[in-house]
């Protein structure tokens, strides 16, 4: 559903993403892990059509993002890490506008908007301006927008940032149910517990390159640590924990 081949992004002499390839199948939640600055957000933003790749190919639902961007984006929902939305619109207006961008006729949007606001527990805020929302509420509103047009694939950049435990639980359930209905989800995160709990497959990116890919069990085998949790495994694969140095500093 989301196919990425040899994706490269360079900023002058700095290579942020260096030959990344991914394939996210329908119904799969694919975790995209890596330390800060590894290239996760850059990759996600290229797939969302927000950044122009230096080279490589991206296809969503069989549509090439470079040659048929509108068809590719029509199948995609995008949830950025920071929920910037129009502050002077109400939640209901924002979703109506979002639906309009995806070509949903106004008559058909009303019921769907109500469903989404109920699902993301925002129904009572429908007629309030976005500027009065907390970060978590804005994040949930962006998610409501991303699922409004029933996308075939969803890109999520750091989904749990700013959410309370109840919100986080809700989002995990929504993502799992969407995946069960055949939606392909590519999710970047550095919350390893989230990846371990939710993802069918995990790719670890470091300095712009994918250094490991597979199920969590595959990664354990790769690192030669059969019973380890994902956190020590991740630290081992991405260059050590630095705990020794922390002790020395403290």
């Amino acid at each position: 559903m989301i196919a990425v081949a040899d994706l490269v992004k360079r900023y002058g002499g700095f290579t942020a993403v260096d030959g990344v390839s991914l394939d996210v199948q329908p119904g799969q939640i694919h975790g995209f892990l890596g330390p800060n600055g590894a290239g996760k957000t850059t990759t996600i933003r290229m797939i969302a059509g927000l950044l122009k790749p230096t080279s490589g190919r991206i296809a969503v639902n069989g549509h090439d993002l470079a040659t048929a961007p509108e068809a590719a984006k029509a199948s995609l929902g995008f949830i950025p890490d920071r929920p910037f939305i129009y502050e002077k619109l109400t939640a209901g207006e924002f979703l109506r506008f979002h639906g309009g961008l995806y070509g949903i006729e106004e008559a058909a949007t009303g019921e769907r908007i109500r469903e989404m606001l109920d699902l993301f527990e925002l129904a009572r805020w429908r007629d309030e301006l976005v500027e009065s929302f907390s970060h978590g509420m804005k994040q949930r509103l962006v998610m409501a927008g991303a699922f409004l047009h029933r996308p075939r694939a969803v890109l999520v950049d750091e989904p749990m940032v700013g959410l309370d435990p109840r919100g986080a639980r809700l989002i995990k359930d929504v993502f799992r149910k969407m995946a069960d209905r055949g939606v392909a989800i590519l999710m970047s995160t550095h919350t390893l517990e989230v990846a371990e709990e939710m993802c069918d497959l995990v790719s670890i990116i470091l300095k712009g390159r994918i250094i490991a890919s597979g199920t969590v069990d595959d990664l354990r085998r790769l690192a030669g640590a059969a019973d380890e949790q994902l956190t020590p495994l991740f630290l081992r694969l991405t260059g050590g924990s630095g705990l020794q140095e922390i002790d020395e500093v403290l």
Binding site: P69, K73, R82, F84, Y86, L89, G100, G103
Partner: protein, 572 residues
């Protein structure tokens, strides 16, 4: 313990370092087009400063011919110059204080740190002085230099200038900080900013209307000499000597004559220092309460504009365009900083039309017919410049207004061409209506020849398409997604580039439309028929004018769509 002591000890200038370092880093950063931008803005700044210097120099030189009356007028002029800047500073310092003392993002960091309240006040006060007064300093410097050079003032005049301006700007800023402190403790900070902006614009609008409707041109008539003396008498109001502007004017005037006025200089400095001390103690007492209140989210009051939804639903537009239009209109109408600018525009339109109504061309009966038609072109040119100004303020920032939410458009399945066209139509309709009304109403009030009325009405349609297309396109080519408000976008490099191109376009159009029209009028005046060759040339000139409009429109939209499609980064 020693580490903590070291952190807490630096004086208040330490708190200004982030601003200084940010400015230094901005100056060091080199990006494509920086040199062109620096040259363009540098040249414009030099030109403006040179013009102000020359104006001040010329006026002072002229007044020197009138001995004592000249001196009196310079003294009065300095006092009124400072009074003008004082009123500007009084307003801008309140708006700036709101931002620096209560709304800045870095305040959370500073208030959470072990920084003494007094140090924080001094740092923020210094920053407010800088932000609120830089424009005054930039304008006043060439004026004082012009006056000084024309009068051959001693070097001490320039030093006195510096020592006068510093306390002069401190006084209104201290007052503004105190007013802001009071306002924020009564209203929520963001609501207070909206109220202030609205008040400021209503104030500016009233001034514009008042200045026009008192008909200052009456003072130029010989029979109104008594009014001139009355006019000067009003300048000598009893309250004037109590104002810092008067003290600053007197101090500088004494210095201009090679003397020294310790009374007014002391009044300036002692008042400034006392006001800062009072503001600091009020800050200690009330700032935290106000800041805390500014953090509290209030349920916003706003208009739903359901009528707008229903009206737009009737338009024959695609779902995408309809939703883009509704979104743009609602965001505009709910943002006080945006729609309130319309008040000033409305005032200017009223003044514009009023000018045509009171125009007394019948005083020269033999020329009135000819003059009316010349004014018709003036009207067309003025409408063109009004269009350019409206376009740079309202149309040019439309793409930038998407701000950090532009990711929604970029990740949606709509073409950027459609997006830009939607912006174009949203901008075109009001600009076309406004300029068409101005031109038609102006020409009607003048009683212009019907042929010219038709030419002007058609020319306005072409010019609207061209200028709105150019503004939309260049707005997309040079967006400022991080700008705080549309005025910043309008004043950016792209905005200035648009204004230069727009003015050139208007001038070229006026020439191309004006020449054939004047030929027609002359033939009408002489009552001679037009030759076929003349007619062909006239049609050719009109056609070239239309082509210039189409080319400007096409260039603008094309460059805009290209820029959006090539845009490498999307803000979010």
């Amino acid at each position: 313990m020693t580490t903590l002591a070291r952190v807490a000890s630096p004086a208040f200038p330490y708190l200004l370092l982030p601003s200084l370092w940010s400015s230094r880093n901005r100056a060091r950063r080199r990006e494509q087009g920086d040199l062109t931008r620096a040259l363009l803005f540098g040249a414009i700044a030099l030109l403006v400063a040179g013009a102000i210097f020359w104006g001040a120099y010329w006026v002072t030189g002229q007044l020197a011919d009138y001995a004592e009356l000249g001196d009196y007028l310079i003294r009065l002029g300095l006092s009124w110059l400072f009074l003008t800047f004082l009123s500007f500073l009084a307003f801008s310092s309140i708006v700036t204080s709101l931002s620096t003392f209560f709304l800045s993002d870095d305040l959370r960091l500073l208030l959470a740190a072990p920084v003494a309240s007094r140090r924080l006040f001094h740092a923020r006060f210094a920053r407010t002085v800088g932000h609120a007064s830089w424009m005054v300093v930039v304008f006043i410097t060439p004026i004082l230099a012009g006056v000084g050079v024309a009068r051959g003032a001693p070097p001490s005049f320039y030093l006195t200038g510096l020592l006068t301006i510093v306390p002069f700007v401190m006084i209104p800023v201290a007052l503004g900080s105190m007013i802001t402190l009071g306002l924020v403790n009564v209203f929520p900070a963001r609501r207070a900013r909206d109220i202030l902006m609205l008040m400021g614009l209503v104030f500016a609008t009233s001034i514009v209307l008042l200045l026009r409707f008192i008909q200052p041109e009456r003072l130029l008539r010989v029979e109104s000499m008594p009014e001139v003396t009355d006019f000067f008498a009003t300048l000598q109001s009893p309250i004037t000597p109590m104002l810092p502007s008067f003290w600053a004017g007197e101090t500088l005037f004494a210095s201009l004559q090679g003397g020294w006025d310790p009374v007014h200089a002391s009044a300036l400095w002692t008042t400034a220092l006392a006001m800062v001390a009072v503001a600091a103690s009020l800050f200690d007492r009330w700032h935290f309460a106000g800041f805390s209140k500014a953090q509290e989210a209030r349920k916003a009051r706003f208009v739903q504009w359901r009528l707008l939804d229903r009206t737009v639903a009737l338009l024959p537009l695609s779902t995408v365009r309809r939703q883009l239009l509704v979104k743009d209109l609602k965001v505009f109408l709910r943002d006080v900083s945006q729609w309130s600018q319309l008040l000033l525009l409305l005032a200017l339109v009223l003044v514009y039309l009023y000018n045509f109504r009171v125009l007394d061309l019948e005083r020269i009966p033999s020329m009135s017919g000819f003059l009316k038609n010349v004014y018709a072109f003036l009207n067309l040119g003025m409408a063109g410049f009004v269009m350019a100004t409206v376009a740079v303020r309202f149309v040019f920032p439309m793409v930038s207004a998407e701000g950090a939410a532009f990711w929604i458009i970029r990740s949606a399945p709509i073409s950027l061409r459609d997006f830009l066209w939607s912006k174009f139509w949203t901008g075109l309709v009001p600009v076309l209506l406004l300029s068409e009304c101005l031109t038609v109403a102006g020409n009607q009030l003048l009683g212009v020849d019907p042929f010219l009325q038709r030419v002007a009405a058609i020319a306005i349609v072409f010019m609207s398409f061209a200028l709105v297309g150019l503004a939309t396109g260049l707005g997309a080519r040079y967006p400022r997604f991080a700008a705080d408000n549309p005025s910043q976008v309008a004043g950016s490099y792209g905005g200035v580039a648009f204004m230069i191109l727009a003015v050139l376009f208007v001038l070229v159009t006026i020439v191309l439309v004006g020449w054939p029209s004047s030929v027609y009028l002359l033939q009408q005046f002489r009552r001679t028929p037009l030759t076929a060759a003349r007619q062909a040339l006239m049609v050719g000139s009109f056609a070239v004018a239309a082509l210039v409009s189409v080319a400007t429109f096409w260039f603008g939209m094309r460059t805009g769509v290209q820029a959006l499609e090539e845009m490498d980064r999307t803000p979010s």
